[in-house]
């Protein structure tokens, strides 16, 4: 039997796209699926996926765990494990369409859960930490089970296949989100398994990534000191945990996150105003192990917004445009034009220059 992702490394591109409504207007998944079609050749059919924010308003106070399960026994083990610390308010199979382009699907379930107050009190942790620990435990200890999405009122949908087929497979036209991200995968280091497709997500953070980071092991060694477990040897997983660590645990701002992972060169810092220099030097020194080197363009999804960022050398392409309340981000301009033919104010952000888009307060 061939080895699974996480058990083998293959040393050997990708497509990303996103749309967000600043007014919090919810959009079906049709347009974002369409946007991936002109970028078809950037992927090779070994992974595609989407993240959608605002899709579960009826369960918005519960964590939505999306899971790949090898068999029913794995589902039962997961259920039993979760019941120890959480209330499961609803669980169901995620609806799919059987299509020739997507095969060998595992069982795909979603659980809506809420940590028990008694557990939180006795463990002295908050509900987000409780869910994070449960997810890490399932992904490392329960055989045949993998949680690939665990945020509130958001969800990740991913598979092995081309992204446009994956979107159709998951019936994404039936969901309504105020923000969508998408990814087409061309795996360069791993064989490509369902769990390794993008987006990678933890709590409300999700990442789609085009690139090939060279600092993976440095980043992994540092982040694993804080309870994160990198199970798949794929670079996007570590970027997701870095975002969670710096934003949720260290309470950095999005701009500061960008200054850590895509830190300006020392020669660039030297030319900034003194106060800014001091801050940039501090961030580079304190979080030196979280500097991400090598090519990347990423879109970070979070509750109520998106952030796009290129590596500081800008070794991957990314363009941003807007029209009315919507902002579009994609690897190629053609993808934005498919979503909105009259997209305006198109520009390519510089390397290390974060583009942050937020939905207006109270609109999501």
């Amino acid at each position: 039997m061939s080895k699974l992702e996480g058990q083998i490394r293959i040393p050997s591109g990708c497509a990303i796209s996103a749309v967000i409504s600043r007014d919090g207007k919810r959009m079906s998944g049709e347009k974002i699926i369409e946007s991936m079609k002109p970028m078809h050749d950037r992927s090779n059919g070994l992974g595609g996926g989407f993240a959608a924010y605002g899709i579960y308003p009826e369960y918005k106070d519960f964590f939505a765990l999306h899971m790949f399960l090898e068999d029913l026994a794995a589902r039962k083990s997961c259920e039993a494990f979760l019941r120890e610390t959480m209330e499961i308010v609803h669980l169901e199979r995620i609806p799919i369409r059987t299509i020739p382009a997507i095969t060998n699907e595992p069982l795909i379930w979603r659980f809506f859960v809420s940590p028990l107050r008694s557990t939180l009190a006795s463990m002295q942790i908050d509900e987000e930490e409780c869910v994070t620990r449960a997810v890490m435990a399932i992904n490392t200890r329960i055989k045949g089970a993998y949680v690939f999405s665990c945020g509130k009122n958001m969800g990740v949908f991913k598979a092995v296949g081309y992204p446009e087929d994956v979107g159709y497979f998951y019936r994404l036209e039936e969901y309504e989100a105020y923000s969508w991200t998408a990814h087409g995968r061309y795996p360069t280091n791993t064989p490509g398994w369902w769990g390794g497709a993008h987006p990678f997500a933890l709590l409300n953070y999700s990442i789609v990534h085009n690139g090939e980071i060279s600092s993976y092991d440095t980043n992994r060694r540092f982040i694993e000191m804080f309870g994160y477990k990198c199970t798949l040897q794929t670079d996007t997983e570590v970027i997701t945990y870095i975002a969670d660590y710096l934003l949720r645990k260290q309470k950095l701002s999005l701009e500061e996150l960008a200054s850590v992972i895509a830190a300006p060169f020392w020669s660039t810092i030297d030319r900034r105003p003194p106060q800014e220099q001091e801050k940039l030097r501090y961030l580079r020194k304190v979080f030196s192990s979280l500097l991400i080197t090598g090519p990347f363009s990423i879109i970070l999804g979070f509750e109520g917004g998106l952030m796009a960022l290129n590596d500081r050398l800008k070794l991957r392409s990314m363009v941003v445009g807007e029209k009315d309340d919507k902002v579009f981000i994609a690897s190629e301009e053609a993808a934005m034009r498919v979503m909105e033919p009259n997209v305006e104010h198109i520009y390519a952000p510089a390397g290390g220059e974060p583009v942050i888009v937020r939905v207006k307060e109270g609109k999501f």
Binding site: P38, K314, S317, V319, E333, A334, A335, I346, A348, A350
Partner: protein, 240 residues
């Protein structure tokens, strides 16, 4: 002139259709198809929509005009011909270009004109009407790059690390370059009338294509950057 509707065609079908009409075509509805006009030796292509990456790669004599923006790697390793873009272009335009002309009305992304070279009667020319991203002309070995800085933005005419590893050719920036940090192995000096005479044809063509007036263009100072042969390029990333 043949009309080709590119919508629904993938890059192979579109390029086959272009070859069938010997390169004389007006293509509408481009949606990211790659390699349009690659290696084309003759004809005139007019494109609308958004052509995909590697537009006019290895171009060998044909002429391509884009009514809008182009994506990454325009004119990659181009040998002869002309590409005109009525908009902006993405990263790595004119990579290793060794002949022909590339005129861009708007901005260029990162790494424009890197590894550009010249030989014998081959002299590649790239004129960027707007501003250029970082690593402009990195490892330039020949040819002429001109950046005019005509677009409105707070960005400098060229971003970080221009001309790193430059060892041939000429680079003109329409700026006094006071805020531009250049590497040690190049010499920058104000361009003289004689220097500007050398690029007058290109400026003239630019104005013909996109409007404007050459005499007004040269009212602003130009800086000419060339390699410093007494301080040759030795290293970039490591001392060894």
């Amino acid at each position: 002139m043949t009309n080709i509707d590119a919508s629904g065609l993938d890059y192979r079908q579109l390029n086959a259709a272009i070859r069938d009409c010997a390169g004389d075509a007006a293509v509408t509805g481009c949606t990211g198809q790659r390699f349009i006009g690659a290696g084309l030796e003759q004809g005139r292509l007019t494109l609308s929509g958004t052509p995909g990456n590697a537009l006019g790669a290895y171009l060998n004599g044909a002429s391509i005009e884009v009514r809008g923006n182009a994506q990454d790697a325009v004119g990659d390793t181009m040998n002869a011909g002309r590409i005109v873009v009525h908009g902006s272009i993405g990263d790595a335009a004119g990579y290793a270009m060794r002949g022909g002309e590339l005129y861009v009305q708007g901005d260029a992304g990162y790494r424009a004109g890197i590894h550009m070279k010249a030989y014998g009667d081959k002299l590649p020319v790239m004129v960027i009407g707007g501003k250029a991203g970082s690593f402009l002309g990195e490892y330039q070995a020949g040819g002429v790059i001109v950046v005019l800085g005509l677009t409105e933005s707070t960005r400098p005419i060229v971003s970080n690390f221009p001309c790193t590893g430059m060892h041939g050719g000429k680079l003109f920036l329409r700026s006094d370059c006071k805020n531009i940090l250049l590497p040690k192995q190049v010499i920058a000096r104000p361009a003289s009338h004689k220097d500007l005479d050398g690029i007058w044809t290109y400026l003239h063509t630019f104005c013909e294509l996109f409007g404007g007036n050459c005499d007004e263009l040269v009212q602003q100072p130009f800086t000419l950057i060339t390699p410093n042969s007494s301080n040759p390029y030795k290293q970039l990333y490591v001392t060894n």
